[in-house]
């Protein structure tokens, strides 16, 4: 598997501007929303797919793959963009997003090869990820589980149940990534259910936790690498400080892009902002 990964990934750059371009193409084609929360996790996904996730480019359901659980299913277009890079999603699925009878939905759906969970109802994914990590450990497998949760999603109680259980079981094969973009549906998280210092909370719950810039690819890579080799028996958490709508200035930290659809002008403007047709 190791050699397969290195060879087959050599052409896969998961370049963030390209991923954002795919998201814009899908959002415009499907006239859909949730662009901001897809853009905040682009670099996180890029680094995971580029270097840290074990997968088979030819088989999204290969039995020894690592598991990426997108619990904040609203950001699924970012994951579709990565899957498009790999070839699990074809151009037609991008240009035909949301066409009647199409397969790719507006939220993560486990029936789509490459996606592990059905999410969007928030607070589900982390528990599933903990079950997967427990299963891998029972099997003596080296498969790892990465769960991406939103900061707004941390309002949901089952996340905290899952954190307690993961720490109790010392699931060191679990990495939780909190996309801390500071917003939830109706406004700023600190004005709705303030989360305070998330890394401190994870640490108190028994995790190894760090806070990083969630758009700094080198920092993401370095943190994931360090977690892999630190020998700690605790589960891991990355609190990724991100910007909702990152990459398109008129979308950044503007929560209206949780709900707004692109028109021809904003689509063109957004493409120009991420580097035009070079992206």
């Amino acid at each position: 598997m190791q050699s397969v990964r290195n060879v087959s990934r050599s052409n896969l750059s998961f370049e963030p501007a390209r991923l954002r371009r795919t998201v814009l193409d899908m959002a415009y084609a499907g006239q859909t929303v949730h662009i901001g929360c897809a853009f905040s996790i682009i670099e996180l996904l890029a680094v995971l797919y580029r270097k840290h996730l074990r997968f088979s480019p030819t088989d999204p359901r290969s039995p020894d793959r690592d598991l990426l659980v997108l619990s904040k299913g609203h950001g699924v277009m970012a994951q579709y963009a990565c899957m498009h890079e790999i070839g699990w999603i074809d151009d037609q699925a991008v240009s035909g997003y949301f066409a009647d009878g199409s397969t790719l939905k507006g939220l993560s759906d486990s029936r789509v090869p490459g996606l592990e969970v059905t999410s969007g109802s928030l607070g589900h994914g982390l528990s599933i990820a903990v079950g997967m990590a427990l299963g891998a450990r029972i099997d003596g497998s080296d498969r790892r589980v990465f769960a991406i949760v939103g900061d707004g999603e941390m309002n949901e109680g089952p996340n905290w149940e899952a954190m307690l259980f993961a720490a109790q079981q010392k699931l060191s094969n679990l990495v939780v990534i909190v996309d801390e973009n500071g917003f939830q549906a109706m406004g700023r998280t600190d004005e709705i259910i303030g989360l305070g210092d998330m890394a401190a909370k994870f640490t108190t719950f028994g995790f190894d936790a760090v806070t990083i810039d969630g758009h700094d690819e080198a920092a993401i890579d370095q943190t994931l690498s360090a977690f892999r080799s630190d020998g700690s028996q605790r589960p891991k958490a990355i609190v990724a400080r991100t910007v909702k709508g990152r990459g398109v200035p008129f979308m950044e930290n503007n929560n209206i892009w949780h709900y707004t659809r692109l028109n021809e002008q904003t689509y063109r403007d957004a493409i120009a902002a991420i580097g035009g047709d070079q992206a």
Binding site: I128, G131, I138
Partner: protein
């Protein structure tokens, strides 16, 4: 019935190394045998049912065969969305065992009484819903649930009401179980769960009444019901569950399409328990005691 549950669980786990047991910190002493036989396959998920069901889904995705045990007030009702999205959506092989269904926790009040679980769970696509009447049906239900490899809810009601089958009986839980043949054109009682023991005693006093136990609510043997309707004069359904959305509703839905007949639905009306007391007391409060049910069935049977 609880002993049969414990025995079945150990036996199934002996034969299948992928079987795990998850409990939401419930089942004291019930799992002694399992813990002794398979200590490494016993997972107490703590008092955190939502996480427990999500974890069961994750474990099933990793190739395990989890049994998830809880009180039926919590599993499935508290975790209905986790069952729907995390488990049933992909028909993962997770078996949910809801113990103490109905009025079993009669003294504890509304939080522990479960009278809406069938209505909730049967609306979820693809779920198998089993409701055994006695230890023989329970044992067969456990084996069927595991062999099916599908998402299953197994409803365990009052466990000490005795048997409706003889030890020699081989139960196929997917089929209607004839407990008492009746006369043509007469009253046919269809019961699910341990209240079938009451149904048999009612039939002792209503001449010609037939009694069937229906351990599989979903899939439901519509063909068997159609056959019964050909010769029945009227139907009575019995369940320790709300009359809204449960077994009686199911029978009525089917009968209305197949072969319309008068149907008397005996169950819990649309209200919570007012008082606390013994199990028998609560049955009386809700009109599910033998005398009340017998009187209702006899009056219904006397209709032209």
């Amino acid at each position: 019935m609880r002993q049969a549950f414990s025995d079945s669980l150990v036996r199934i786990a002996d034969a299948d190394p992928r079987v795990l047991l998850l409990t939401g910190d419930h089942g004291y002493a019930l799992f002694d045998a399992f813990r002794k036989a398979h200590p490494d396959r016993y997972i107490n998920a703590g008092i955190a049912e939502q996480n427990m069901v999500g974890m069961a889904a994750g474990l099933a995705r990793m190739g395990f065969r989890p049994f998830v045990y809880g009180l039926s007030a919590f599993v499935p009702v508290r975790v209905l969305e986790q069952i729907k999205l995390d488990v049933a959506h992909d028909d993962l092989p997770v078996i949910f065992v809801g113990d103490g269904a109905g009025f079993v926790y009669s003294h504890l009040g509304t939080s522990h009484q479960s009278l809406e679980d069938i209505a909730c769970i049967r609306a979820i696509p693809g779920m198998t819903v089993l409701s055994p009447a006695d230890r023989h049906e329970l044992t067969a239900a456990m084996d069927h649930a595991h062999a099916s490899g599908r998402s299953v809810y197994l409803r365990m009601g009052k466990a000490d009401l005795g048997d409706v089958h003889t030890p020699e009986t081989t139960v196929d839980v997917t089929r209607f179980q004839c407990l008492r043949p009746g006369r043509e054109g007469g009253t046919v009682i269809l019961a699910t769960g341990p209240i079938a023991t009451t149904a048999v005693r009612v039939a002792d006093q209503v001449e010609g009444a037939a009694v069937w136990s229906i351990p599989s609510i979903k899939p439901f043997d519509t063909a068997a019901l159609a056959t019964i309707c050909q010769t029945a004069g009227r139907l009575v359904t019995m369940e320790e569950h709300s009359v809204m959305g449960g077994f009686g509703s199911l029978v009525t839905e089917e009968v209305s399409a197949l072969h319309p007949l008068p149907v008397l639905r005996i169950g819990v009306q649309d209200r919570f328990s007012e008082h606390c007391g013994s199990y028998d007391y609560l049955l009386r409060e809700h009109g599910l005691d033998l005398d009340t049910v017998t009187a209702r069935v006899a009056a219904f049977d006397a209709r032209a």
